[in-house]
């Protein structure tokens, strides 16, 4: 069954069955990754382009591996500030890629809506690998996959997302994705990093972590960036850790079956103490592995692959 969407621009445009289609496909590919030769020929002869305007080795590598595991070619088109300042617009770039006949474009850009813009001007399928503070759909999908893998159906599960919600595309996509799967989502962060009308995204909002941390099944910690925040939203990273960090003290008080996730990269000693790396219920490494499988599923479905029964 072909998916009913041509591009993956965000979770907001997907309904529950779309999400489950992708996750079920990802389950198949996850098993492929455990084989001695973790490759399938499904996308042989096809080419996808990593069009990254923001630096990212992790996500770009993950997509690159996903493409290779499907036997597709992946080409990296990194647009640095210098090529952009030479006057090459996004539209120019898109048309160039089109002329090179790529089947799919994976785009990461600092401006919200850049993938949507691209999708209007190319014939290739477009995957949003992160557009400003807007969405990061494959991250949300791999988080959902990881949690369902560990906990089963997410219906009724209480999930807490902690960090810089205002500037986080991961937070937005996660709130959309988890609520669509029936979970109860709460976010927590300093009021200076919670956007207005946050509840309308579909979550409860807390500004003191100790009021909600011990009432949830899943704790999803987000990276706090000094550079992105600027100097007005937080006094120091030290105070952030004290008020919102998953510190060793807080970790000790978590119920034994609570799971912890983080999209990476982790600022150890800020949003999480080093102790979390040893915590048995931390799923951070699984998220990375599952990320390849989920991205394989997305590329496969968008490239026109039939869903394997």
């Amino acid at each position: 069954m072909k998916p009913r969407f041509k591009h993956l621009l965000g979770i907001e445009g997907l309904d529950r069955s779309d999400i489950l289609t992708i996750l079920d496909q990802a389950r198949t590919f996850r098993e492929v990754l455990d084989r001695p030769i973790p490759v399938v020929p499904a996308l042989r002869g096809k080419t996808v382009v990593n069009l990254f305007f923001e630096a990212s080795t992790r996500t770009a590598t993950s997509f690159q591996l996903a493409a290779s595991r499907l036997s597709a070619q992946c080409v990296n088109f990194s647009r640095t500030a210098s090529s952009v300042s030479k006057g090459e617009t996004l539209l120019d770039t898109a048309r160039n890629i089109e002329a090179m006949r790529a089947e799919g474009i994976i785009i990461r850009h600092s401006m919200p809506g850049a993938p949507h813009f691209l999708a209007r001007h190319v014939r290739a399928f477009v995957v949003n690998a992160g557009d400003g503070a807007h969405e990061h759909p494959t991250q949300a999908l791999l988080d959902a996959f990881t949690l369902r893998d560990k906990l089963g159906d997410l219906k009724g599960r209480r999930i807490l997302i902690v960090g810089d919600i205002a500037h986080s595309r991961v937070a937005r996509s996660n709130v959309f994705c988890f609520t669509r799967l029936g979970a109860k989502v709460a976010v927590c962060g300093p009021p200076t990093l919670i956007p207005r009308y946050c509840e309308e995204l579909g979550c409860e909002v807390f500004c003191r972590i100790d009021r909600v941390l011990y009432e949830v099944d899943v704790v999803n910690m987000l990276r706090v960036q000094q550079e992105r925040i600027g100097v007005w939203c937080l006094p120091t990273l030290r105070e952030y850790r004290e008020l919102y960090g998953l510190t060793a003290e807080r970790l000790k008080k978590l119920a034994p079956d609570v799971v912890v996730t983080h999209p990476g990269p982790v600022n150890w000693g800020v949003e999480m103490d080093f102790d979390v790396a040893e915590f048995p219920q931390a799923l951070i490494m699984s998220q990375v592995t599952n990320g390849v499988a989920v991205r394989m599923a997305v590329l496969y479905l968008l490239a026109g692959g039939e869903q394997t029964p």
């Binding site: 300093p190 009021p191 200076t192 500004c207 100097v231 006094p235 120091t236 105070e239 008020l243």
Partner: protein, 430 residues
């Protein structure tokens, strides 16, 4: 004239009139204190072996809270220290005081908050509840570590001495303060509008003084009130001096905005007319304004628009104040005269009752700061001042307990004074 200090485990305050600022009543009752707590309030009490203070003709009140003062330590201990300031405060009836953080260095870390509290404990007079800086170094740019300071005992945040000029920074300070449910105390002043430390009005025209208009205060107050409304944070406006500001606050409260306000005795007692001789003891920021402003402040206190009477006690040494007008620092001391001025200007002139006036000095500031209100009822912690309203006393220079003497009220005869302050089992007699 150092006070006497003693420890008394069981004490009867006999024959006085007890003030309840919450119920707004004053009633004849004895008060029995035991082991630092109020054991009983009423008449015909069984007092056993209690010592006795005769309070006939006197009033017994909860200790006052000064939510805005300057103690100069660390950095300018020549002007005042925490110890001398705390003693001066206690003699004026203030058992709890909140020093502003514009010290040198400014109080923007938990270590400094702890330092100030400890110095207060060492001195053993009024208790210190520090106000921390809103921004690092009081520079008005980066948020200070409010969480750490609250954990150390800070009760509010302010960059007082200066406004938080950048609106984005003020917005973030207000938002961040919500985590700790503490008020942001705002010194409202649009600096760009102010050329000198006098009210821009008839006196500044006559005297040729550089000045600042009242709109410098009210425009900033408007901005801060709207930001408080937008963010849902708790704003408190410091040292209200202008009618326009009072009006803004009144309307904001009607709309349900979480804003409170304070004024100082000099703003309800004096006007710009006092500047006629260029006496720098009248040089304050915000400046003394017109009679219309003064009346509006009195009316604001009466109808509750202005919640609190605070002193803005601002000590400066003689060498600094004895100077040409424009070179003198702004500020006057105020702990020792605040109650008398309030009593004369507000109670004796029938603007409000005595319990109402005392509420502005006790209940209102305590509530704004989330400090316990120490009402005089059984079970309460002992935090009491005894007031002699009949007493006439002269504020002579030898009497001044503050290390500095920059007060325009020196030499005046005032009505109403504090005879004792009792904190826990410690009795101080003035």
């Amino acid at each position: 004239m150092m006070p006497e200090k003693s420890t008394v485990r069981k004490l009867l305050l006999a024959g006085g009139t007890v003030i309840d600022p919450a119920a707004r009543t004053a009633r004849r009752a004895d008060v029995l204190l035991e082991n630092g707590r109020i054991a009983a309030v009423g008449t015909g009490l069984r007092t056993g072996d209690a010592e006795r203070i005769d309070c006939t003709g006197k009033h017994i009140s909860p200790g006052f809270v000064d939510m805005h003062c300057h103690l100069r330590e660390p950095g300018r201990e020549d002007r005042e220290t925490i110890a001398t300031g705390a003693l001066s405060a206690l003699s004026g009836g203030f058992t709890r005081i909140c020093p502003m953080p514009n010290t040198e260095p400014p109080v923007d870390t938990e270590a400094q908050v702890r330092f100030q509290i400890r110095r207060g404990e060492e001195a053993g007079w009024a208790r210190i509840h520090p106000v921390g800086c809103c921004t690092k170094g009081r520079q008005g740019r980066e948020l200070a570590e409010m969480g750490a300071m609250v954990a150390a005992g800070a009760v509010a945040f302010s960059d007082d001495g200066d406004p938080v000029a950048d609106a984005m920074v003020m917005r973030r300070c207000l938002e961040y303060s919500k985590v700790f449910d503490v008020p942001v105390l705002s010194h409202c002043e649009v600096r760009e509008l102010v050329e000198g430390c006098a009210n821009e009005g008839w006196m500044s025209t006559r005297l040729g003084l550089k000045a600042g208009p009242d709109v410098a205060e009210s425009a900033q107050a408007a901005r801060d009130i709207l930001l408080a409304e937008f963010t849902g944070a708790r704003l408190h406006i410091c040292h209200v001096s202008a009618r326009a500001t009072v009006d803004l606050i009144r309307r904001a409260k009607e709309r349900g905005v979480s804003v409170t306000a304070e004024t100082c005795p000099h703003y309800f007692t004096l006007t710009e007319a006092a500047l006629a001789d260029f006496d720098t003891n009248y040089r304050v920021n915000p400046p003394l304004r017109t009679e219309a402003d003064r009346k509006a402040i009195v009316a604001g206190l009466a109808d509750g628009t202005i919640d609190v009477i605070a002193t803005d006690h601002a000590p400066h040494i003689k060498g600094e104040k004895e100077s040409e007008w424009d070179n003198a620092p702004a500020g006057m001391i105020g702990f020792e005269t605040a109650f008398s001025l309030g009593y004369e200007q507000l109670v004796q002139s029938k603007v409000m009752s005595l319990p109402d006036c005392i509420a502005r000095l006790t209940l209102a500031p305590a509530r704004i700061l989330n400090l316990p209100v120490h009402l005089i009822e059984p079970g309460s912690e002992v935090d009491i001042v005894i007031l002699d309203l009949k007493a006439s006393w002269t504020y002579a220079p030898e009497r001044v307990l503050s290390k500095s003497a920059n007060s325009p009220f020196l030499g005046l005869t005032l009505r109403g004074r504090v005879t004792n302050a009792i904190l826990g089992e410690t009795v101080v007699s003035f």
